[in-house]
Symmetry: C2
Amino acid sequence: MKNRSIIKGKPITLDIPVELSCKCEYALLALLELAAQYNEGEPLQIRQIAAQQNIPDRYLEQLLATLRRGGLVKSQRGAKGGYVLAREPWKITLLEVINCLEGLEAKSSKEEVNHKTVESAVVQEIWQEAHQAANLVLQKCTLQTLCDQRVARRQLDIMYYI
Amino acid sequence: MKNRSIIKGKPITLDIPVELSCKCEYALLALLELAAQYNEGEPLQIRQIAAQQNIPDRYLEQLLATLRRGGLVKSQRGAKGGYVLAREPWKITLLEVINCLEGLEAKSSKEEVNHKTVESAVVQEIWQEAHQAANLVLQKCTLQTLCDQRVARRQLDIMYYI
DNA sequence: ATGAAACCCCAGTGAAGAACCGGAGTATAA
DNA sequence: TTATACTCCGGTTCTTCACTGGGGTTTCAT
């Protein structure tokens, strides 16, 4: 959004994105690997994850750094280092993951300083509603859920082969 | 997404956006005006709508053209021309509007030719679920709904003034 | 100790899209 | 016939996304 309607010198920004971008997908795939590895105790290295899930490693590095700052993974530096989940897989929801990556902290803080029109307020409300409906789904899904589904789907694929 | 993981020469694109962008908001605001005007029968001009809702008129022009091609509004050319809703306000859902603007026709057609990994399939599934939860909200909301809410909210604002 | 393996930080780049802007048309009511 | 309003097409600027690269620093193994 370049210059959304400057009213009386006050710019109003109005977008409420709910994205599963490439970034989020990469991060989720990486976390899925870490979740599968969680019981081993051994850290997984960026290179391994990147190779396994076909993700550019230097990019993945940045994403994992973000997840680390968000408290979702822990890192071990040096040789034999790598990444481990900071919590159990069933205690990390997908909502946490994407919030960490997209950085939605400053959302509607100080109850919307920018005085908007009645119309845009109405539009935004319904959108928030849709947004929250999506968030609810993501909140109920954890990394463990995804892991279980992965296993189930693999079994299914084997069935089809026979 | 620039170059998402080209596996064996086959690029895979994987984003499932659910955006309320500036574009959608502009369009909804314009449609809201048209919905309020619907009983009058007289068309509304781009200039009027743009001035009322503080939208750049040349940009709004493009959006209305898209909505026209999508069959949501009708246009009348020449002097005394303008735009009218193509249907009654309660027969136009918000989902239709954003689908028209974002152009989500080719979604999952031919059941996903690009063979994806088990992991990304699992991630995409849950995302689709979230996506549909949001869509359900938008499908249940029509332009009439927004109109009614606008009226209600205006009453509320008057109450606060006293 | 020392070197290699791994994470860490910061900066830049290229493509794509979003949000416009402008001009030259074309249809139509008065 | 003329002013009004839509229509089509192209360009411009700005931002973001998905990367890439160049330096580090920390830590384990020998």
